[in-house]
Symmetry: none
DNA sequence: CAAAATACGTAACATACGATACAGCGCTCC
DNA sequence: GGAGCGCTGTATCGTATGTTACGTATTTTG
């Protein structure tokens, strides 16, 4: 079975006329980048004319040049998704129902963090550690526990951390306390909840800084957010996975704790003694 | 030093207006493929207008869109040359707060699952899927969100799933409803909570089957439990990590869902129609 | 609260790009 | 050696694409 364009070329290069073969060879030599450039550049690199390039891709079975490029891009994207990461985790031999789930989850985490720079996390952590404002956390149907988890930790190392629970009307009443210096952390993955969007809009109007945890398809709230964390959620299950977001949350909790070390440590000691 | 476009974006995203930030986030989310498409496609994906995309790339320092694309392509080409340096966010040698945290978490998960057989999980899943009894879930200070997360999912695919919230006295009142056929899922990691142990003992006396999620040092509840899941929790942070337990929980949710597929699917459809 | 500045999208524009028609050339096969 | 066929490049065309100008909305500042 022919799965990529390189193989396709190898398969058909024998049937090609001289100039097209030159095109094929240059594509292989600079695979696949030269194919993503313009016809003119490709033809120049191969030392043939543009129509030859077009005839070449036509012979490969593509309707037109853009279609050929899209195909190359898809191939590239697939490579970038899974590349060595699969081989990085030696597929456990006794692959029952566990393994694929774990594998997918580990991949999701790596992917999520690949798209997340230290600087971004540091910025968010700094924002969360800023003691001049309050911190509110809220989540959706399945992600509210993540908001709770984060709130449970943050509330220990600093004051003015509030998890917004209960009914929509109750959150709204808290809006009155929110202003420019405050931060609202929202967890919202598919299927995105209207109630959260409504709430986010109102908070946004009040100048509240929004930190959004969402999936790779980005909740509509992203538009309002100051910081967006997009986690991978796809796993071989009927449900989406929030594990990657969970780990990001833990990472942030750790970073904020470190920033507030001095005061935080004191606070923690104080709390211990209160028990 | 800024070596790739992703870093460049992370560096400047703070200085960008809202719409451009959205463009930036979309690019990161689908990095780098979306940037190789046309301005129109990029703008559609980001939900902004084409000029915004152009202003965005201009702000990154590029003269025009093609130049930006070339830069992305060069980056890609370099990556493809040396597969070793394929990471989008190279392990920052300096204050890399991310990497060690992520690495430790991934290790924890692998370790946790290494000590967890498919059979164990299947048994637990079967127990949770057994519809003759009720399912109760409860957790400690930091782990209660995990109980909530699991409850939120299980409650959708089967009836009689209850998360025990609120104060200790309220849980106790629910004991009256618990019997031999029922399952109690407890999350308890260090520092183990006396209140949970007390509750577990009473439930155990009533013949309730206990499924315990704990850390590798095992909560004292372990001796009462029918099934024990011991997750690794150590990470380079001031806090313990519950991420491994979270993933086990998700795995179980998936397994239970699969077992109840027939009835579960029907239930889910019914719920959708109720919205 | 008014005024200025900035951000953003709509719509018109120019151009660079892919596509096509056609003519020249070489090769092959009678 | 000549006719036919196929391969290839030049030149032209239509259009999709990036670009720019401008007006409106929004935010910021005095």
């Amino acid at each position: 079975m022919i799965s990529n364009i390189a193989e396709l070329i190898a398969d058909r290069i024998g049937t090609m006329p001289a100039s097209e073969r030159r095109a094929a060879q240059t594509l292989i030599a600079f695979y696949p980048m030269i194919g993503l450039k313009t016809v003119a550049e490709f033809s120049a690199a191969a030392g043939v004319s543009s129509p030859t390039i077009l005839r070449f891709v036509a012979r490969l079975g593509f309707q037109n040049y853009p279609e050929f490029q899209s195909s190359l891009q898809d191939e590239l994207a697939a490579q970038l998704q899974s590349p060595a990461t699969r081989t990085l985790n030696p597929p456990s031999p006794g692959g029952g129902t566990v393994s694929p789930m774990l594998e997918a989850t580990l991949d999701n985490m790596r992917e999520t963090f690949r798209h997340l720079s230290d600087k971004q996390l540091a910025d968010i952590a700094a924002r969360l550690a800023d003691r001049r404002g309050k911190t509110f956390l809220i989540g959706g149907r399945f992600t509210d526990p993540l908001a709770r988890y984060m709130a449970a930790h943050l509330a220990i190392i600093q004051p003015d951390v509030f998890h917004l629970a209960g009914q929509e009307s109750m959150w709204r009443d808290r809006l009155i306390d929110m202003g420019k210096r405050d931060v609202l952390v929202i967890f919202d993955i598919r299927r995105y909840q209207d109630s959260l969007l409504r709430f986010a809009e109102k908070a946004h109007q009040r100048g509240v800084q929004i930190v959004l945890f969402t999936d790779q398809w980005l909740s509509p709230i992203a538009r309002l957010a100051r910081h967006v964390i997009a986690g991978r959620t796809a796993v071989p299950s009927a449900w989406d996975s929030s594990a990657a977001l969970f780990v990001v949350a833990e990472t942030l909790i750790g970073a904020v704790t470190r920033q507030l070390e001095a005061e935080g440590a004191k606070r923690i000691r104080e709390m211990e003694s209160l028990r």
